[in-house]
């Protein structure tokens, strides 16, 4: 089971914190909404991903399991 970042688009308010905390996989579009690089998150990046998820002020960012 690997993990991937997912966004609850209804919650997301373009605070942009996630891109600051996890620039390896998250950038922002011109309106400030996250653009996720869907590549698998290697174990050494797992902590960064977890921090971005935890710090999202509206809890819109999730780590979701993916089979395989």
């Amino acid at each position: 089971m690997s993990e991937q970042l997912g966004i609850d688009w209804i919650r997301c308010d373009a605070h942009g914190l996630c891109a600051e905390l996890f620039p390896e996989r998250i950038s922002l579009d011109e309106w400030g909404y996250p653009i996720i690089d869907g590549a698998e998150i290697a174990s050494e990046l797992r902590a960064h991903a977890g921090r971005a998820v935890a710090q999202c002020p509206v809890l819109a960012l999730r780590l979701v399991g993916r089979a395989g």
């Binding site: 688009w9 209804i10 308010d13 579009d29 011109e30 309106w31 909404y33 653009i35």
Partner: protein
């Protein structure tokens, strides 16, 4: 008991059979004389396995647009704990589509039969048929049909309710529909949970589109083999199409999936004027040039290589006298207005795209490259597929109407005579900033 003769499997119409200007199937007597009795009994709490096998064998795909296998929706509901309920989705918010309305108005008993079949499949005790507020005639037809069944002592074995939901494009999306029925604003909710997990009143909910329900009512009567004798192997059965634009007789037609566009046009009395392009799949569909549409086959398999799909099968023939750029700009504006307003990329992206298209329609091509980028930024970045659909439509317009765009931008000319072909509901905001 009424025993109608089993209709010839390869004869159309099926769903629209018995409906016409003079004869209609609103009276229960006529409905039963035409279609025969529904040979199933709902046993609440006990899903009808034999019926489900038949539905699975039929290969029926959801006729709301996604063509998702009807039997898999049943499987999903049956995988859940709790007492399931049924919702029939009669909300047809797509302006160029009228097929569900025509069916509900002309053959309300077939829709109700479909609700009964949907209940039997999951062992539900109740079914709700949902219609948008403005569908007053359809509401009346279904209400009268329910009254008539009660007066005849025709026991369906379940409770059937009619419910009204707000008008709008996204209300027809099943999570929005459930949200509206649950007293919410009728907007997509974050998934999971999906309606099969937690739907109407929190119950596992078996949702099927109105036309799909009617198809199920016929499969329950005539079987999978009968159903599959029309259509293609991958996409079996017949389907309703709403044809409008430059055709002699616009309206709702029933075709075998895999029929040619040409045959459909012939059935509609031919073209009323020379046509430059066809919109296939409504406002979340794709423009296809008249040249590319020669020999076009109406199945998802045939449309896929063109980047198109049947969707809810709204087809519009755009006459040469109309401007594809202006038409697309208007629809893009409408689709932006119809965003549920919940997801940033949809709200901001569709608005930007619509504004850019409006500029092009007025001869200003400065945002053409931006539009291309925005199209990439809205697809797949919302809770529902509304932005994806709108983006697909605009993207196809940029290709199909490339010459017309160049004419607007470089020569400040428009080949259109100002005719508007694509319908936009009156209450929608118009006249966007340009």
């Amino acid at each position: 008991m009424t025993a109608a003769t089993r209709p010839d499997a390869t004869t159309l119409p099926r769903l629209l059979g018995g409906m016409g200007t003079e004869v209609d199937l609103r009276p229960l007597e006529r409905h039963l004389a035409h279609h025969g009795d529904l040979p199933i009994v709902v046993d609440p709490g006990r899903p009808d396995q034999a019926l489900l096998d038949e539905v699975r064998a039929s290969g029926l795909g959801g006729r709301g647009g996604a063509m998702f296998p009807a039997s898999r929706k049943v499987d999903a509901v049956l995988s859940q704990r709790g007492r399931p309920v049924v919702v029939i989705n009669g909300a047809e918010g797509e302006p160029p589509s009228r097929k569900d309305h025509v069916l509900m108005r002309g053959a309300p008993h077939l829709i109700i039969d479909g609700a009964v079949v949907c209940a039997a499949l999951v062992g539900a005790r109740e079914a709700t048929i949902a219609l948008e507020q403005s569908a007053r005639r359809e509401h009346r037809a279904l209400e009268e049909a329910l009254r008539e069944r009660a007066a005849w002592g025709h026991d369906d074995g379940i409770d059937i309710h009619l419910e009204t939901v707000p008008d709008g494009f996204v209300v027809g999306e099943e999570r929005s529909l459930i949200d509206a029925l649950n007293g919410g604003p009728g907007k997509p909710t974050h998934a999971p949970p999906r309606p099969f997990e937690k739907g109407l009143g929190g119950a596992p909910t078996h949702v099927q589109n109105a036309e799909t329900a009617a198809q199920l009512a016929l499969i329950a009567r005539h079987g999978a083999g009968w159903f599959r004798s029309l259509g293609t192997d991958q996409e079996p059965g017949s389907a309703l199409v709403t044809l409008s634009g430059a055709v002699a007789r616009p309206g709702v037609y029933e075709i075998p999936i895999g029929a040619s566009l040409h045959d459909l046009l012939v059935a509609a009395g031919g073209l009323a004027a020379p046509v430059q392009a066809y919109l296939i799949g409504g406002y979340i569909g794709t423009w296809i040039s008249a040249r590319e549409a020669e020999g076009l086959v109406l199945s998802n398999a045939a449309l896929r290589p063109l980047g198109a799909s049947l969707g809810a099968r709204a087809i519009v023939a755009l006459p040469e006298t109309a401007c594809g750029v202006a038409e697309t700009a208007r629809v893009a504006g409408y689709m932006a207005d119809q965003s549920a307003g919940q997801c940033g990329p949809c709200v901001l992206g569709l608005d930007a795209i619509a504004g850019g298209m409006e500029r092009i329609a007025h001869g200003d091509g400065s945002q053409l490259a931006d539009i291309q980028r925005w199209l990439g930024l809205v697809a797949g970045r919302g809770e529902c597929r509304h932005p994806d659909g709108a983006a697909k439509l605009v993207a196809s317009a940029l290709t199909v109407f490339e010459d017309e765009i160049a004419r607007h931008v470089h020569a400040r000319k428009c080949t259109g005579d100002g005719t508007s072909v694509l319908p936009i509901p009156r209450d929608s905001r118009t006249g966007r900033r340009a």
